[in-house]
Symmetry: C2
Subunit: 207 residues, 2 copies
Amino acid sequence: VKSKQWLESINDRLSRQLLFLIEADRLKGVIRGNRIADGSRRENTAEHSWHLALFAMVLCEYAIGDIDVWRVVQMLILHDLVEIEAGDTPLFDSQAALDQAERELLAAIKLFGYLPEQQGTVLRATWEEFEAAESADARFAKALDRLQPILLNHIVGGGTWTDFDVDESRERALTRRIADGAPELWAAAEAVFADAVRNGWLRPMPQ
Amino acid sequence: VKSKQWLESINDRLSRQLLFLIEADRLKGVIRGNRIADGSRRENTAEHSWHLALFAMVLCEYAIGDIDVWRVVQMLILHDLVEIEAGDTPLFDSQAALDQAERELLAAIKLFGYLPEQQGTVLRATWEEFEAAESADARFAKALDRLQPILLNHIVGGGTWTDFDVDESRERALTRRIADGAPELWAAAEAVFADAVRNGWLRPMPQ
């Protein structure tokens, strides 16, 4: 941040909030494995988070249990913010997944720490609830986070399935939590897998 | 969309909702005038919309009137979706602004028309409420939409202010609606303007 002089001229609380929002801008530079739908480039995590919030608004009727869509959307807006510090961990990268939880917790402490204390605590708790994937809201949010890249991989004709030479059984195992949050969306994902296998974009299960 | 065969194998309602979400992906390719905070490239409208949703979550305490933050966030997630069809209209481009409302209304009819009828009507009404800028929710959402590029222009040392040779009085006139939605955020914007003038990133008012 060039010249933060003006931040010193406003009150401390608002100054911390604006600094957090400026730091959060870095999420636009975190690049994910999957491509955007036109295939022109990889997706960044900020636009991915927007897309998921829209998924929640449109698909909330398919959630299992008594969900609060507003809480789901808050989780989705916040869910990958830690990647600013910890980087994106691709679903198919088992090595990076080993210390992912630790790296992300340290990132959360740092990032939410920019905010006024009570506000930072509330937002961090929302992120932790998402991570725990236990509440109905979190399970639905996690389901959407798995569903969106499946649609994008299909549209671009392979995407990370081809990049990581994924077969259908591994893909199903890694995305099966969609069924926990929204069974009808899991049925749609199964239709996508079948079509992707037919087209040669996803390797069939070993016979 | 390559091969929509799988969409035909699921029920019509969900199929329309997924098609809408896939079309919405194009917002990631709509490029705005202002840059992201690291100055490396221009911002796209999808990541801009995510950033604004986060602004609303963090800054809602500064809104005037009795707002519902969840409605504000819905507006912000949807507010620029019409740009998929109508393109982005930069704040400083008076020519493009002439037929902006008409172009955007036609875009809204088309885009929200992908959804099941009742759902499309509700989302379109939310967007129209934002556009009208009359309710407390819409006024706060509009204020955030003006505030965010001010912070980004300052961070990159000029941005669209330099590109369009903007002076402080014109910038104030175009962003004054921040004061309608959140006076304390307008005070922060004034501190940014003063610092930007001091640094030569925003032309001072003509004497």
